[in-house]
Each structure stands twice: as structure tokens, then as C-alpha cells.
């Protein structure tokens, strides 16, 4: 019989190498042992994916390793999502995400989504090639706290500005926090288009998103 500690260690190790079937098995084992879904998430899955991100940064991992690890974690999330919802823990906030119009790169965006979800955000993913009008309509519909624009090509980064203009025009700019990201994006670029936040990777996005939300909420008079 596996012990809870072994489950956590196993989940960490197997997520790191992207062994999706084993991660799912261990998730089941953990639940069968009566372990909290939160514990599986925060004590094993998320730290493992953070380590994946760190290895990617160092150049020890490349995109495929990152993808299979992301897939493994996403598989466990599928299983844990309803359980986490049942625990009645309030979501940290609502995050609307999309890759900008003209761009179909989405690996980075998808990883950010997994981490945001793991951290307790409700994530609504509009997918790729999301036109400004579509962002506006989705903000109207979902009333997110934060909207995230992702872009990967020098030629599609200017869509950030187009999106910002569309939000202004729709009178929504003050209603949502805007975050931008993607391989070519820098803090300077984010500032230049008037975004509220930028982050270089998935864990940083979670931290920044929480900080921005906190800032905004503490400004609102009670």
C-alpha cells in the first residue's frame, strides 16, 4: 500500500517526466487514501510544474518535455476539478484568456491556464486568433476580473494595442485588469501598450495576477 508521502513524491516525479497515466493512477490512489485534492495539487502537481518551468528556463527541458508534463498535470486536473469545486473554496478570481488575432501559438498560453487553474482561478479560454470584438463580447458575457492577451509573433504583438483600444471604446477598460504575455513580450512593451501587468512565465503570471487582484480589491471602498 502506498503512503500519502509516496503518493506526493510519485505525483511530483511522474509529472516531471510527463507520465500521464501514472499521474492519474497516483491521483486516484491519493484520493482513495483520503488525501485532500488541494494537497495533491499544492504539495505535488503545482511544485512539479514549477520545476518543469525552471528547467525550461535553464535550458534543461525543451518544449516537448514541457508539453508532456503539462498534459500529465491537465489529466490530474480533470479528475480533481469537480472535487475542488465541491470543497466550496471560493475561486481566487475569473481570468479570461486568449491568443490574439492572427496568431495560433498557444502552448505558453495553455500552460499559463493550467497553472492559473491550479492556483484557484476560474479560467475561461477563448482559444487562438481571438479578435478584439470577441474579447469585448466575452468580457461582457463573463465579467472577468482579469483578461489576458497572449502573442508570440512580432507581427501579432501590435494586436495588444488594438485590443486595448477596443476595450476603451467599449467603455470597459476600467472594469478589467489587463495582462499580456508571450515569448516576444517584455515589461517595456506591456507598459507601452498600457497593460496593467506582464509576466514572463506561468508561475510569475499566477503571482502577478494575484497581486494585481489584491491591489484592485483593496482600492475598492468596502
Amino acid at each position: 500500500m502506498t503512503s500519502p508521502d509516496e503518493v506526493l513524491q510519485g505525483l511530483y516525479d511522474e509529472t516531471l517526466v510527463g507520465n500521464a497515466p501514472r499521474v492519474l493512477e497516483l491521483t486516484e490512489e491519493g484520493l482513495a487514501l483520503g488525501m485532500e485534492p488541494q494537497s495533491l495539487l499544492f504539495d505535488a502537481l503545482i511544485p512539479s510544474l514549477e520545476e518543469v518551468g525552471a528547467r525550461f528556463e535553464r535550458g534543461d527541458f525543451f518544449v516537448p518535455e514541457m508539453l508532456i508534463a503539462g498534459r500529465a498535470m491537465a489529466g490530474a486536473m480533470e479528475r480533481l476539478r469537480p472535487l475542488l469545486a465541491e470543497t466550496g473554496v471560493e475561486t481566487v478570481g475569473k481570468f479570461l484568456m486568449g491568443t490574439v488575432k492572427g496568431d495560433v501559438h498557444d502552448i505558453g498560453k495553455n500552460l499559463v491556464n493550467i497553472m492559473l487553474e491550479g492556483a484557484g482561478f476560474e479560467v475561461i479560454d477563448l482559444g487562438v486568433q481571438v479578435a478584439p470584438e470577441k474579447f469585448v463580447a466575452a468580457i461582457e458575457e463573463h465579467q472577468p476580473d482579469i483578461v489576458g492577451f497572449s502573442a508570440f509573433l512580432t507581427t501579432t504583438m501590435p494586436m495588444f494595442k488594438a485590443n486595448m483600444n477596443a476595450l476603451e471604446k467599449a467603455g470597459m477598460r476600467d472594469q478589467v485588469i489587463v495582462m499580456v504575455g508571450g515569448a516576444p513580450v517584455t515589461q517595456e512593451y506591456a507598459d507601452a501598450v498600457g497593460a496593467d501587468g506582464y509576466a514572463a512565465d506561468a508561475s510569475a503570471t499566477v503571482k502577478r495576477a494575484k497581486a494585481l487582484l489584491h491591489e484592485k480589491r483593496s482600492k475598492v471602498p468596502a
Binding site: 510527463g18 535550458g59 525543451f62 518544449v63 516537448p64 518535455e65 508539453l67 508532456i68 498534459r71 488575432k101 492572427g102 496568431d103 495560433v104 498557444d106 502552448i107 495553455n110 482559444g127 487562438v128 486568433q129 512580432t154 507581427t155 515569448a183 516576444p184 517584455t186
Partner: protein, 205 residues
């Protein structure tokens, strides 16, 4: 040779062919083409090689477009007083910037192939993206792609067959656009200018 050219490995072959055909006194020094997938390393690699080459060549130039360095390569060029090829990536050098932009505008889900990519597809795409070990990742990578466009520089039947195979591996229909080497050649000529021709126009240092 008075001139050394630091070239991206993905275009070094046509570059060397043009240099040879034109009889330019230029030594072509390729860097690994797979740096394309780790563009944050390109600027430093170019700097190191350019510095080394400057010790034994009058002039060093850079046969790279920006290639996803997002300005870092330009910073190295400014630092060392070098010039590089124009454009965002090598695809621009084959198809021309505006034509390339229109391919992506028409169909954002366009995946570009060059003769180099077609020839080295198994290594530079399949293995590099891990599709050999994890075929299931094809979905993660190419789900939103709708076509492959081969910028064919020298479309021999043998390459055509390889391009068909590459597109089939990706599960995408193939469009062939014959580009030749005309633009690349003009860009090289502009880059090397007087220094290659041995005239006394402004040297590149």
C-alpha cells in the same frame, strides 16, 4: 578570405552556393540551425563567433534575420559594428516581407517550410518537437494549423516528395510557392556590398 559571414545554419547552404557562384571572397561560417528554437541563445553565439572571426578577417557580416531574438541580435550588431540581413526571419528572405505577411494574413494557420526544413524535417521538426517520441503531441502543436506553405527555392522532384511527406506528417495540405533565391541573393549583395566585390566602398569592419 577578407570577408567572413556568420550564417544561420538554416540558410548557410544557399548562402554558400550564391557566394561561390558569384565568386565573392567570402568565407561562410554556419551556426547550428537548431538555435532557431532557442532564439535567446542566438545573439551570444553570433557575438562569440564574430569576435573570433574578426581576428583573421577584415570584415565580418551576419547572415541572419532577426530570427526571434526580438532585437538582441541587432544590439550585438550595433555593439560590434556589424550588419545583418534584413527581415524578421529567413522566410522573409525567400518570399519577401510583404508576400510572407500576406500568406499569414490570408491564413493565420500557415506553417512555413523551406528547402532546408523539408530536407531536414525529421531532425529539425519531428525530433526537435518530440513528435517521434510523443506522436500525440502533434495535436498540441498543430491543432490550429490549416496548411503548410513550402517556400520552394529549388523544387526538384526529390524535394517535392519530401515536402509532400512533411505536410502529410503534419496532417496539412501543401501549397507550393516557388521563390527561388533571387531575394536572398539581392539581400546578400546589399549586405556584402563593396567589401565582397573588393571595392573601396564603406567596409563593414
Amino acid at each position: 578570405m577578407p570577408v567572413a559571414l556568420v550564417a544561420c545554419g538554416a540558410i548557410a547552404q544557399p548562402v554558400a552556393e550564391i557566394v561561390e557562384r558569384r565568386g565573392w571572397p567570402v568565407a561562410v561560417h554556419p551556426l547550428p540551425p537548431l538555435l532557431h528554437n532557442q532564439p535567446h541563445l542566438i545573439a551570444d553565439e553570433v557575438r562569440d563567433l564574430a569576435r573570433a572571426l574578426a581576428l583573421c578577417h577584415e570584415t565580418v557580416a551576419v547572415a541572419y534575420a532577426d530570427c526571434g531574438t526580438y532585437g538582441a541580435l541587432d544590439a550585438v550588431c550595433a555593439e560590434l559594428g556589424l550588419r545583418r540581413l534584413p527581415g524578421l526571419h529567413c522566410y522573409d528572405l525567400f518570399a519577401g516581407e510583404s508576400r510572407l505577411a500576406s500568406f499569414l494574413d490570408d491564413e493565420p494557420g500557415t506553417y512555413l517550410l523551406t528547402d532546408f526544413l523539408v530536407r531536414s524535417f525529421e531532425r529539425t521538426v519531428v525530433r526537435e518537437l518530440g513528435l517521434d517520441r510523443h506522436p500525440e503531441l502533434r495535436e498540441d502543436y498543430f491543432r490550429h494549423y490549416t496548411r503548410a506553405v513550402w517556400l520552394a527555392q529549388d523544387p526538384t522532384p526529390e524535394l517535392r516528395a519530401l515536402a509532400d511527406g512533411a505536410a502529410a506528417t503534419l496532417g496539412l495540405p501543401l501549397t507550393v510557392v516557388e521563390t527561388g533565391h533571387r531575394r536572398l541573393e539581392a539581400a546578400l549583395e546589399a549586405l556584402l556590398g563593396g567589401s565582397a566585390a573588393g571595392t573601396d566602398s564603406a567596409p563593414l569592419r
